[in-house]
């Protein structure tokens, strides 16, 4: 199966072809794997290893009516130039599509400098951004298209993980993957941890919901789908990031909301992405243990 990153490359090429306002902005990372016709070369801008300039240049392009798509590794796209995202995009009232690769554990062997489980939390502090955490290459492709066509500000978080199949997530709607009893606890899985959440709750009385758009969360869909009093958010980034959105959506009823996510961003655990993910407790076994313990995880 191809990867989310493969899909980015093909979608980006199509968008350059279809929309003359599309401009791709890179800081070296990601540029080399693109196959772009020379006809569109002047709308592919590589600023070198200058991430602040990468976002600033995107802001300038957007001020002039272009639709920049900016791509890099997660920490270099979101964390290093965060003030530029805040001021050179959001505060200027202009829009861009930011596409990251790497997420919380893809670069396990590279260590802390190349990992950014805090990205969704950071982006959630800025108004007007839609955050996509696709769980399958098909969802990633749809998210990038939707983000670009909207003309608004979107952050699309690509990873090497993939669920076994894509889920219907049109316009960020919450999907029901498994329905439990009326009193069952609800598991809300975000993006590529959905299969693990399904596997972890096999044999439990649990309703498993799915979203690939944690911000803004489909509050109406969540309100309708949750019937019990317990919700566990399983999120492939900093634990607790999406809890406030869930709490706000369910504020009309007494609830217990817990989070299962990355609790130790400083964890040094080289190896494969799968191994680091398991070390964070976000494989099926870890998720099951966390659900059975019934305690809230908080990032430290």
């Amino acid at each position: 199966m191809d990867t989310m990153r493969d899909r980015f490359n093909s979608v980006a090429a199509s968008l350059l072809e279809d929309d003359p306002k599309t401009v791709l902005v890179f800081a070296v990372i990601g540029h080399g794997s693109l196959e772009i016709s020379d006809r569109f070369g002047d709308r592919v801008i590589d600023v070198g290893i200058r991430e602040q300039a990468m976002i600033g240049v995107a802001g300038g392009l957007a001020l002039e009516g272009f639709k920049p798509i900016v791509m890099s590794y997660t920490p270099f796209l979101i964390e290093r130039p965060f003030e530029q995202i805040k001021l050179s995009l959001t505060h200027q009232d202009v829009n861009a599509v930011l596409v990251s690769v790497g997420g919380s554990w893809d670069a396990a062997s590279s260590g802390r400098t190349h990992l950014a489980p805090e990205d969704v939390a950071l982006m959630s502090t800025l108004p007007g951004w839609t955050v996509h955490v696709p769980g399958h290459p098909d969802e990633a492709e749809a998210a990038i298209w939707e983000a670009h066509q909207s003309g608004e500000s979107h952050y699309v978080r690509l990873t090497v993980d993939s669920n076994r199949s894509a889920h219907e997530t049109t316009h960020g709607r919450i999907a029901t993957l498994r329905r439990g009893s009326e009193d069952a606890q609800t598991i809300l899985a975000v993006g590529p941890v959905a299969d693990a959440a399904l596997d972890a709750t096999t044999g439990m009385d649990a309703t498993v919901l799915y979203t690939s758009v944690p911000r803004p969360l489909d509050a109406r869909g969540l309100t309708a789908a949750v019937t019990g009093t317990d919700v566990v958010v399983v999120e492939p980034y900093l634990a607790g990031t999406s809890v406030s959105q869930v709490a706000a959506a369910l504020s009309d009823r007494p609830m217990r909301i817990r989070a299962v996510g990355v609790t130790d961003p400083e964890m040094q655990h080289y190896g494969s992405p799968h191994e680091l993910r398991a070390a964070h407790g976000l494989d099926s076994e870890g998720i099951r243990r966390a659900i059975e313990r019934g305690i809230t995880q908080i990032a430290v």
Binding site: G48, A53, V57, G60
Partner: protein
């Protein structure tokens, strides 16, 4: 020193000149900590709007207009005064400076103030925006130029040096950086501020930041296929 903006003159909407700027600035109080920043930029901004920029207060979004980015957003009283003198702002708004209902803050907001191209205040944002806008204007086959005003102290921000190097490598001929040099950089600029730009293949000039004719010559000098940096010296903490 006072000359006339032909665009505004043609529409008879510009009754104000250079001498009015001081009266306008005195109408804005409450940001005295940035008064040096305001007075240091006054002559540069006036010269740009009076003699250099192709801008029109009656057609703010003209695609071929020149863009002026006040990256050094501190002390915008001079900027507001010039905008008022040139017909972008009603001078009656100036006494409301930074009051709760005013559109005029201690840093300019492009969403609220007519003629303001970028919102600024946090130093080090404007040059990269100017690089992106310059590239966009080129992609659109339009004719506008981009002028970014930064301070010598602001140049300490590392983000500027990413943009300076990038603009030099890309040879962006429609971009001009104007550095107000009032000796504010904490550790100074050994070799001169202009050296930081010339090493990145910018064309450079150093002028008296109070000499309108000299600045006009510098701002309008030909610099095809390379960006232009003009260091405008205005004296220490002027």
């Amino acid at each position: 020193m006072t000359t006339t903006n032909h665009l505004a003159d043609a529409r008879s909407i510009e009754p104000y000149g250079y001498d009015d700027l001081f009266r306008f600035m005195s109408m804005m109080t409450g940001d005295e900590k940035h008064s040096e920043a305001a007075t240091s930029t006054l002559d540069v901004i006036w010269t740009l709007y009076d003699r250099v920029l192709h801008v029109d207060p009656l057609d703010l979004d003209h695609p071929n207009r020149d863009r002026f980015y006040l990256s050094k957003g501190h002390g915008p009283m001079a900027f507001y005064a010039v905008l008022a003198a040139k017909g972008f702002l009603d001078p009656a708004l100036l006494p409301q400076f930074a009051t709760s209902t005013s559109i005029l803050g201690h840093h300019p907001d492009r969403r609220r103030v007519p003629g303001v191209e970028i919102s600024s205040g946090s130093l080090g944002q404007g040059l990269a925006l100017g690089v992106g806008a310059s590239l966009a204007i080129g992609l659109s086959r339009r004719s506008g130029r981009v002028f970014v005003l930064v301070g010598d102290g602001e140049l300490d921000e590392g983000s500027n040096h990413e943009a300076i190097a990038l603009a030099g490598r890309l040879g962006i001929g429609r971009l001009t950086a104007i550095v107000i040099d009032n000796d504010s950089a904490y550790h100074g600029w050994p070799g001169g501020i202009e050296a930081r730009f010339s090493v990145e293949e910018w064309q450079t000039a150093v002028v008296d930041g109070r000499d309108h004719d000299a600045m006009f010559e510098a701002f309008t000098a030909a610099h095809p296929d390379r960006p232009l940096a003009v260091v405008a010296r205005v004296g220490r903490k002027a």
